[in-house]
Amino acid sequence: MIELSHIHRNFQVGDQTVHALDDVTLTISAGEYLSIMGPSGSGKSTLLNLIGLLDRPTSGIYRLNGQDVTSLNDSEQALVRNREIGFVFQMFHLVPRLTAAGNVELPLVLAGISPEERNQRVARVLDNLRLTDRSHHMPEQLSGGQRQRVAIARAIVTNPKVLLADEPTGNLDHKSGQDVLRILEELNARGITLIMVTHDPEMGQRARRQLHMMDGRMDSDQEAGQRGSA
């Protein structure tokens, strides 16, 4: 469902051109569980942002569900982000003045969905993530693990096909991190395509497919089964 072909992404830093992504070609099928690993500056976050349509490639073609999304304009891309893609960030990025339910509701508000339907969907998602009793709490009243669960609820409330997680456990203690990871894997088991950026090998190795990046290039791309046998 995700097809990247010959993607380049260059940044201009001073008078130097940095090749954050250098000729990346990658195909990801629906329902995959993929981790992207590599040292910082290797281009793994840039790749995730590109897949999430937060960034545009300098050259190359990106097809999502067979549609060339690189040529879409700003509001068309916004629509795709809203419907097809969910984001989970390391910093949670909850809006501090909105309650947990208010945060989860945001993507539905932006989609122009009626309040009655929104309430139902938000309640269902919060229930799934065992957050019902926290729905009227402000983010500052929640623990880190709870905040990330609210963020996950927000990411999946629109029923996206792809869930992009950028260091989702980076700001959490080990136990909450395991908790969050288990939730993400459960979602993957129910059919969502999960793409996770991490620099923690222990986390990354849990994915069925592991991608290693180095200097903007794909270093290796292996299925979990193969690694053990190699």
Binding site: N82, V109, G112
Partner: protein
């Protein structure tokens, strides 16, 4: 994707509540701007109404004849020969009665004299006039009667005194029919003026009115201070004015040595001046509104950079650039509206206090000023937020989200 307007309003409201200090500062700025417009224009409008009503109280369809030429007409034979302008006389006044369009006429003399009764005395403004003065100036008598309708040249020893003079000379005692001394003459009190008569500078309560011939004898003069003429209708004012000019010019050997003013003209002039003043003050106050607008721009810029990551998040969640602009503008719009209405309330309160402190001044803000102030507040608020909103919409979501 279309945002529901109620969601936009709620989002803006939450954003305002999320940053109370910023919100209160901006509301205050906006409110002060609007309040300044409301208070200042209500002051200007109050002054205009005050002057207008004062002039109306002079009388209706009034024409005033003043001796001398108020305009400089260059050099005329009179100045060459060192002549002074001819005085207005009682005969001039009598001559003006011969016109159907003249309803009432009243010669006027004014002076100051010492008035005494027994051991009490004080200096009082003395008006010399005639029976018609009461009707021309719409004054009312409290007691007794006004000057009798007799021959203008008859110097009857009667006086109508103001209520304050009555209090000072007679205290609680009966004044009607008593004698008082004005200058070196004795007058009998035949009437007492009501309390409400008041017009430009002359407080009727503190004057004494005697027949014009008596005043001429008292002040030893044959000239008049004014002649007041009341036309039968508004339409008759101009013909009567022309009649007065023609008659007096004829009587004064062809020389135009009087000034004839109509109350309408004076009123219109004052009205124009004071309206211009109100506009000017309103304009000055509007500048403070514009300043408030610039403040809104600054604060919205700060708000955008404060909330960079939030805007990046909204983009990641699928907000288009247009939606971001709408959300930011809604916030500014709500802020301007709240500020404007707070300012309106504040301004009306200010006007109320002014009316309370100065009851003679009908300080009501004119509708145009209120409407303009609200519109200007809203428009500046929106206009000055366009730039911050566009900046927010143009934010790179990747950079915005990477910010802590």
């Amino acid at each position: 994707m279309a945002l529901h307007s109620r969601d936009v309003a709620r989002f803006a409201w939450d954003a305002l509540r999320g940053y109370p200090t910023r919100t209160i500062l901006m509301l205050t700025a906006m409110a002060i701007g609007v309040a300044a417009v409301v208070v200042l224009t209500s002051l200007g409008e109050g002054a205009r109404r005050y002057v207008t009503s004062e002039f109306s109280s002079l009388g209706t369809n009034l024409i005033i004849v003043i001796p001398g030429r108020s305009e400089t007409a260059g050099i005329n034979p009179g100045t060459m020969m060192g002549e002074t302008p001819r005085d207005l006389t009682l005969n001039d006044s009598l001559a003006l009665t011969h016109n159907y369009s003249v309803r009432r006429i009243s010669p006027l003399n004014i002076g100051s004299a010492s008035v005494s009764r027994q051991n009490r005395s004080r200096d009082v403004v003395i008006l010399g006039s005639s029976h018609d003065l009461l009707a021309i100036r719409h004054w009312e008598l409290a007691q007794g009667q006004f000057l009798p309708q007799t021959d203008l040249e008859r110097a009857a020893p009667v006086a109508v005194i103001g209520s304050k003079i009555r209090d000072e000379l007679f205290g609680a005692r009966r004044a009607l029919g008593e004698w008082i001394r004005i200058g070196d003459r004795r007058f009998r009190v035949i009437g007492i003026m009501g309390s409400e008569g008041r017009s430009i500078g002359v407080d009727v309560q503190e004057t004494i009115i005697i027949p014009v011939a008596s005043a001429q004898q008292l002040f030893n003069t044959s000239s008049l201070f004014r002649i007041l003429v009341e036309a039968r209708s508004r339409e008759a004012i101009e013909p009567v004015k022309q009649f007065i000019i023609d008659t007096l010019q004829q009587r004064h050997q062809g020389e135009m040595d009087v000034t004839v003013i109509t109350q309408d003209a004076v009123l219109a002039t004052f009205d124009r001046i004071l309206s211009a003043l109100t506009y000017a003050v309103g304009g000055i106050a509007a500048i403070s509104l514009a300043v408030a607008g610039i403040l809104i721009m600054n604060v919205m810029l700060v708000a955008v950079s404060q909330r960079t990551s939030e805007i990046g998040l909204l983009k990641a969640l699928g907000a288009s650039a247009r939606q971001i602009v709408i959300l930011i503008l809604a916030e500014a719009c709500l802020l301007s509206l709240l500020g404007a209405f707070a300012g309106l309330a504040l301004g009306q309160l200010g006007s109320l206090i002014i009316r309370y402190a100065f009851p003679v001044l009908p300080a009501y803000a004119p509708v145009w000023a209120v409407v303009t102030a609200l519109l200007v507040a809203l428009v500046t608020g929106l206009l000055f937020s366009l730039m911050p909103a566009r900046r927010a919409a143009g934010l790179d979501p990747v950079l915005a989200l990477s910010k802590r």
